[in-house]
Amino acid sequence: MPFQPIKFYQTGTFTVGNRLLNPDDRSVQSHQDRINSINSGHRACQGCGEALGARYALDAAMEATGSQLIAANATGCLEVFTTPYPETSWQIPWMHSLFGNAAAVATGIAAAMKVKGRSDVRVIAQGGDGGTTDIGFGCLSGMFERNDDVLYICYDNEAYMNTGVQRSSATPAAARTATTMPVGPNPGNVFGQGKFVPAIAMAHEIPYVATATVADLRDLEAKVKRAMEFRGARYIHILVPCPLGWGSASHDTIRIARLAHETGMFPVFEAEYGVQVSALPIREQLPVEEYLKPQKRFAHLFGAKPKLDMIAKIQERADRNIRKYGQAPQQEVV
């Protein structure tokens, strides 16, 4: 089939030119025989970023492994909205054990596959930010340290959404949650050190670490496929906006994910063996207000008396992210 060099993004729009692509270059989702790892009919909220991210990630992993895939799942939204029986959405072998042990369960599955001579079967563990950065962190770090043959995917919506939007260690500074209410002299979540697990994963020097957002689904697919080229522990951290918890419009999920990237609020990059190897450049850096304003969890920063000092601190962090991960358009990452 003849084709011309492709520009993914037409000027002024974000339309993915799937139809213009060579079939081999198209998204897994454009294939008629796509896997539908998570089938339609599940109970996720309208505009759920996690459902979208999980679907793209798992279908890409299924394609990369020739459908030889088993998934372990932490307790959380993804587990709840894709079950219960007999309405399971899972078209792949899937297991849920507990909130804090998805990484260890996946280790066990991978060990069983190895001992059974089925090393062609690959294993994914997945959880939300609570199950990953908080309660499951010990098991995750252990899996990394042993370099177990597992790809762990964290769907980060920056709070405990399944239990009603409580703060996690992935909740950003100033954000309102049910346990960090916008009251008192320092409304919203604290300005702490934060706990950016991709950097902690890199510190384990595991073969592959990547971050992604649901705004760049081809980038996400590519990273999942790249992860499947490695053996050993791998980690992908996907920012998945949650309309319910973030107080954003359900039709804005992808726009907000894109703003998270373009403001520098969420760095998008890849690393191999502890060293960063790529960054998704920001074409034109936008001020953090663009990202914060459409979300009710940050509403207390604006209004009649905007909290300019807090916004400035958030902007500082975004600027630092862009510098640290080399995402400015002119910067070349070596």
Partner: protein, 417 residues
């Protein structure tokens, strides 16, 4: 083959003969020697086709075992005390999912105060977890019960704890009759899972279950343990055919035929009790023993049958249900419901307190005269307790209780005459 060997090593050798496919290890005394030996066997290649995984916690150990078992691998781990408590959420999960994991519990006290020595508080805290619990009296029984445990677990798709007294058994060098690989292979077929994670036939395991089916799922676990009440004696009989030894079963009686007093106990203390009772029998006392091997499922009918014609029952247990008294004795009382006899709970040996024949002689004689309190704490040092109680009455800031009591007792060395 007869062998003079440490209990932990004997158990490790027996487990290796059971051909485990995934072994997860996290160190906690007194179970460490078991997984150390298994780790060495895997690393040297002696135990082939087995993944040995050094995990970062007991919670991870059980979680790795859960994943491995759900993926069709014969899975084993060992723990004790705080380690068992640390993995509790996964312990319940393993049984709820119907995964036939076998775990050694090297029974040890639970803190605070921290204490590494033997009692049964750890595994008894998991009596309602859905795991079967088999208690070994000797090292021979400990290693034999592990072989039976894999068979039992896998037949019923339920996990089994094999409980052996920490240090008293795990660290004791005793003569054991080691089975051969051929014998174990003849007794224990390869694991054929009822449910398995396999891309060739995808299933969802561990989905959410609402009120419409939760009761039924839980009942099924109970029904399986009731099946185990039938299977455990059958598996012991089959074991005898292959290995030529009487091991396992639900309960065992000793010199109990015409006994007017029967002592009920679990684990290694049965040896001391039997020695004491031999001496008392020589003196004409009508006293016998009921040893309980299967604590879960609890053999109500067998316990009732063994005790219904006696005059009094002394349950001697290495556990304490704070606020009521006995744990094992509560179950024994249930077996005896409607039968009028004298029943005594004796809490003994907590945190490794030695249970001596001397103390047992005195205790059993008091029991025979019905001079025991319904709840007795064997060899409790009342001076130390009363002194601390007085201290607490005297003033608010009485300080940490355990440390006060230790100071009152003085160094252990000073007690040696």
């Amino acid at each position: 083959m007869l062998k003079q060997i440490e209990g932990s090593r004997a158990v490790a050798e027996a487990i290796a003969m059971c051909r485990p496919e995934v072994v997860c290890a996290y160190p906690i005394s007194p179970q460490t020697h078991i997984v150390e030996a298994l780790g060495e066997s895997v690393k040297s290649g002696e135990l082939a086709n087995c993944e040995f995984i050094n995990v970062e916690s007991e919670f991870a150990a059980m979680s790795v075992a859960i994943g491995a078992s759900a993926a069709g691998a014969r899975s084993y781990t060992a723990t004790a005390s705080q380690g068992l408590l640390f993995m509790v959420e996964a312990v319940y999960n393993a049984s709820g999912l119907g995964l036939p994991i076998v775990m050694t519990v090297a029974n040890r006290a639970i803190g605070a105060p921290i204490n590494i020595w033997n009692d049964h508080s750890d595994s008894l805290s998991q009596r309602d977890s859905g795991w079967m619990q088999l208690f070994a009296e000797t090292n021979q029984e400990a290693l034999d019960l592990h072989i039976q445990a894999f068979r039992l677990a896998e037949e019923l798709s339920l996990p089994v704890m094999v409980c052996m007294d920490g240090f008293i058994l795990t660290h004791a060098y005793e003569r054991v009759d080691m089975p051969t690989q051929q014998q174990v292979d003849a007794y224990l077929p390869p694991y054929e899972p009822r449910q398995v994670l396999d891309p060739r036939a995808p299933v969802s395991i561990g989905a959410m279950v609402g009120p419409e089916a939760f009761m039924e799922v839980r009942y099924l676990a109970h029904a399986k343990q009731m099946q185990a009440l039938e299977r455990i004696p059958q598996l012991a009989a089959e074991f005898k055919q292959v290995f030529g030894r009487d091991t396992g079963g639900l309960t065992h009686t000793y010199r109990a035929e015409d006994a007017e007093t029967i002592v009920v106990a679990m684990g290694s203390v049965l040896g001391t009790i039997k020695d004491t009772i031999d001496e008392m029998r020589d003196d004409g006392h009508k006293i016998g023993v009921l040893g309980i091997t299967s604590y879960r499922p609890f053999p109500l009918a067998q316990v009732r049958a063994a005790l219904q014609n006696t005059k009094r029952v002394v349950v001697l247990e290495k556990s304490l249900a704070v606020g009521i008294g006995g744990i094992l004795s509560t179950d024994v009382r249930m077996a005896l419901s409607g039968i009028q006899l004298h029943g005594y709970t004796v809490v003994a040996g907590l945190g490794g307190r030695a249970i001596t024949r001397k103390s047992l002689h005195k205790l059993f004689r008091e029991a025979e005269q019905d001079a025991l309190q319904p709840l007795t704490f064997l060899d409790l040092d009342w001076n130390v307790v009363n002194k601390q109680l007085a201290r607490e009455r005297a003033g608010r800031r009485s300080g940490p209780a355990a440390e006060n009591m230790l100071r009152d007792i003085g160094t252990v060395a000073s007690k040696i005459a």
